[in-house]
Symmetry: none
Subunit: 130 residues, 4 copies
DNA sequence: GTGGTCTAGACCACG
DNA sequence: GTGGTCTAGACCACA
């Protein structure tokens, strides 16, 4: 369900967050669907429950999940006000583009790449609402 | 010459590296031009010499600089073999683009953004216009 | 009769308690009126009977209900001695007001809010108009 | 500097957060002022460093602090966009007011209380900007 | 069984 | 010495 890469500099809890955020934003997980319990995820990924809990907690703070003590964690949907996330993404995007441009990668090539990514997505994730 | 932002989460040595890499790649610093000594940089930026040294060392490893014992560090130019770096950048780029697309940001808007970044760069470092 | 919100962080038994406390204090339920049995409530709300039992037990401790073994639970009225509860509420109230004032929310706006809350309450439970 | 109450239902990390948020919002701590290090706070309050770190991390996410690895944590100021915090506060406020009204506390008395809190604040925290 | 808090202690990168 | 991540394991309240 979630792929971890221990060699990646990105912390594990971030990888878990990104994984679930993707599933939610793509519509693979539906609203009110139950997530695996903290302990289940922890044992299935062979990592510490605290690490999973941190990922869940932060996703809850961001509005992707809601947790009910004693019952579990559930998909809340994609938060309307995700402007914060967009800012992050645009910042990462800008940084990458800037450096690519410095490395003499053309503006056209970059825009083509956007289209390619788009194509690839359409192929895979047809579940995403339109 | 180099602008540091202490509030930024990015480590100081990274900021120093990025600053010089930019100056080199933009052509502001010419090949074989001498960089300020580690001590000079350290005192002018009011930071630890170790931090500067690390930046210089890594830039040398990446091929942007060459060091001559007892004389200092000099600009080597923009390394040809930066394909590894490109791969990294494209991976980061693709991930950002993909999530932006999921968040209903249009392909056009993204491409426009590329152009904007390009513009902004041109504004700063006009020497790079090639 | 009682509205549950599973997404709310507030525990179910608290929601049940609050629901009945409101009905009693508003006069919707009259003194000596019988409450639904634990089993009835549990099945009508589709939750665990233990949860209902806990709500009833605590309301009894607080003086809102009295239980008669073998016959059920009945409304006792609004307990006079709720000064402890008042203290708690005033403490929470003061803390909220203080921080709102620090955040540059005006005294007038806050007082208007009190009136609004009052209005909204009147709308729902008009029997409480005294 | 910060007062902990172990008997309070409020988690310790929340108490720490509230304490620092208050100091910042009141202007007692100035922008760019350094906070005690995680380990200092932990030992001075006799609690685990992880608990302090969680408080600091969340305050950073909320925009009150910024942290620089290797240097420390510093006051960022009062985030402009604290609408989320306001919502929380108003929710707590409304809940308290509603229940007070049910307990037959008059609207006038409540508004007077707001004024009293305001008075008390003026007396103490004259450092708060105007 | 669930999520939530807290502790104790480890290791890392940064300066 | 700083913050940041992670582990291991405990205890609690809730259902």
């Amino acid at each position: 369900m979630i792929q971890l890469n221990y060699r990646d500099a990105k912390p594990i809890y971030e990888q878990v967050k990104d994984g679930f955020r993707r599933l939610i934003v793509q519509g693979v997980m539906e609203v009110d669907e139950k997530l695996p319990s903290v302990r289940e995820m922890a044992s299935s990924l062979a990592i510490n429950p605290n690490t999973i809990q941190r990922a869940y907690r932060e996703l809850e703070q961001e509005g992707y999940l809601y947790a009910v003590a004693g019952r579990g964690s559930f998909v809340a949907g994609v938060p309307e006000e995700d402007s914060a996330r967009r800012k992050e993404l645009f910042a990462a995007f800008d940084a990458a583009v800037e450096e690519l441009l410095y490395l003499r990668v053309g503006e056209e090539e970059i825009c083509q790449r956007v289209a390619q990514v788009h194509q690839k997505m359409m192929g895979k994730g047809e579940k995403a609402k339109e």
